[in-house]
């Protein structure tokens, strides 16, 4: 019955096809991400500022880099962008989804958990793709001339996937155990610490003795892998293995500790 203005409440239950559900959920997640000013600041504005400031200021502060500043810094800033989206944004968003009962509410819809995770990954990859395009354009304007070749591009994609896996797991680990406010504070603090000392924007070799530690951090490994891809057109096996180990360890811990509400 579909009289104009008549609400037919008779039961007609059923789940939409899984692909439709995942698409709807991914579109929703993406809309909410793009609507959130702080997230955009973190995702695009800060990396662009770091890149421009780094390239303009490199000569003045006398950074000792093996390559031109823009060629060395752009891969690092791309790594930073991946870190900000897959770690900080995911942790904060998930923390508040738990707090506001969104995960609980979605848990009562036909959307399965695997579908929810798939949708989150899709939304994340779209945001990362936008970040890579914007940052690459800014870098090209600043004189970036990458020659990664096919191997380098593949190495970059692999590094991005491995880095995203590691940082999403770490972000969920944080968000699944702490309160939303504590997650917000911790995720931002860790982001700043890694930005300054995590060998993500600058190569681990520029940190002196601490570089030996920093290159085993997920930030340092991601930075090194992306630099290797764009500077040498090669795959950094050590860094990729390191990222996958972080992803596996954090993933296992998350699966054991994550609380949905």
């Amino acid at each position: 019955m579909s009289l104009a203005g008549h609400l037919d409440l008779s039961p007609a239950p059923g789940a939409a096809p899984l692909a439709t559900q995942v698409r709807a959920q991914a579109a929703m997640e993406l809309r909410l991400l793009l609507r959130n000013g702080e997230q955009l600041l973190l995702a695009v504005v800060i990396p662009v500022l770091v890149l421009v400031a780094g390239v303009v200021g490199a000569d003045r502060i006398g950074l000792d880099l093996a390559h031109r500043a823009v060629d060395e810094l752009t891969p690092g800033v791309l790594a930073l962008a991946i870190l900000s989206t897959s770690f900080t944004s995911v942790a904060i968003a998930t923390g508040f989804e738990r707090r506001y009962g969104v995960l609980k509410r979605l848990g009562a819809t036909p959307l399965p958990r695997a579908g929810l995770l798939a949708a989150k990954v899709v939304a994340l990859l779209v945001v990362e793709a936008i970040q890579v395009v914007v940052l690459s354009c800014v870098a090209l304007l600043l004189g970036w001339s990458p020659t990664p070749g096919v191997v380098g591009v593949l190495a970059f994609v692999l590094a991005a996937v491995a880095g995203t896996a590691a940082f999403v797991s770490l972000g969920l680990l944080l968000a699944g155990t702490l309160r939303a406010e504590a997650t917000l504070a911790a995720a931002n603090l860790i982001y700043l610490l890694l930005l300054a000392g995590g060998a993500v924007v600058l190569p681990s070799s520029s940190y002196g003795g601490f570089g030996e530690v920093a290159r085993w951090l997920p930030s340092g490994a991601l930075g090194d892998a992306v630099r290797r891809a764009f500077l040498d057109g090669a795959l950094d096996g050590r860094a990729l293995v390191c990222l996958f180990l972080w992803a596996a360890a954090a993933g296992l811990l998350t699966a054991r500790t994550f609380k949905w509400e």
């Binding site: 203005g5 008549h6 609400l7 037919d8 409440l9 008779s10 039961p11 007609a12 239950p13 059923g14 789940a15 939409a16 439709t20 559900q21 709807a24 959920q25 929703m28 809309r31 909410l32 609507r35 959130n36 508040f96 989804e97 506001y100 009962g101 969104v102 609980k104 509410r105 848990g107 009562a108 819809t109 036909p110 959307l111 399965p112």
Partner: protein, 227 residues
């Protein structure tokens, strides 16, 4: 159902008839929400068994979920989402959802516009919660204190919708601590206290066809000294 050393629901035994409105009435902390969440599959009972539409809510949850509608006591939406956007999203997860615009209009959500969820009034958030519970055209809806904090008009709108659901063949289970709500809406009332069923029946049975007030029945059966 126990939480640590606290037993929230203890040996509760009830059966709900299809196509009726059942009210689970009880004071704060009686175990109403725990009972509902056990039926919804959020919690696994430590003892006993629960069947909803013939299914085990925990092990057969994927089969069960499309057939039931759930209204949480609070929250359940992103802080920045718009009311109709949220409703449209939940509708998109179902195969034959209700007409979202009609439902939104009916529950007065149409004029929430672009106001983010966190700035909606408590009543608007409640009504969105109810809308999300019914938009997938379930056979059975669980509503947890659907009119808590609503003004009289919104309460009436909610009651009308719940009655219309029953007329359309939907089974409704609601928790409430408003006696009037149970009396006016429910075909059967179960009064629970400290996790146990204390008394159940139709409103007429419980009040001896209006000889006693339901409020007195409630108070007599859930008596506990005020701390």
């Amino acid at each position: 159902m126990r939480y640590g050393a606290v037993t929230a629901v203890d040996g509760l035994d009830l059966t709900i008839d299809t196509g009726t409105i059942t009210a689970v009435l009880g004071p704060n902390g009686a175990g109403k929400t725990t009972t509902l969440e056990t039926c919804e599959g959020y919690r696994r009972p430590q003892a006993g068994s629960v069947r909803v539409l013939g299914l085990d809510p925990v092990t057969q949850r994927r089969e069960l979920l499309p057939r039931i509608g759930v209204m949480l006591q609070q929250g359940g939406a992103w802080s920045g989402v718009h009311a109709m956007e949220m409703l449209r999203h939940v509708a998109a997860l179902h195969s034959h959802p209700l007409d979202v615009d009609l439902l939104g209009e009916r529950l007065g959500l149409g004029d929430c516009g672009k106001t983010p969820y966190r700035r909606l009034s408590g009543g608007q958030q409640q009504r969105l919660g109810l809308a999300m519970a019914v938009v997938g055209r379930p056979e059975l809806v669980f509503v947890d204190e659907p009119t808590a904090g609503l003004d009289p008009q919104a309460r009436r709108t909610t009651w009308d919708l719940l009655r219309e659901l029953r007329t359309s063949g939907v089974t409704v289970v609601l928790t409430t601590h408003y006696i009037e709500e149970a009396e006016r809406l429910a075909d059967r009332v179960h009064i629970i206290d400290r996790g146990r069923l204390v008394v159940s029946g139709t409103p007429a049975e419980l009040t001896g066809n209006g000889v006693r007030r339901l409020e007195d029945v409630f108070l007599d059966n859930t008596g506990r000294p005020l701390a």
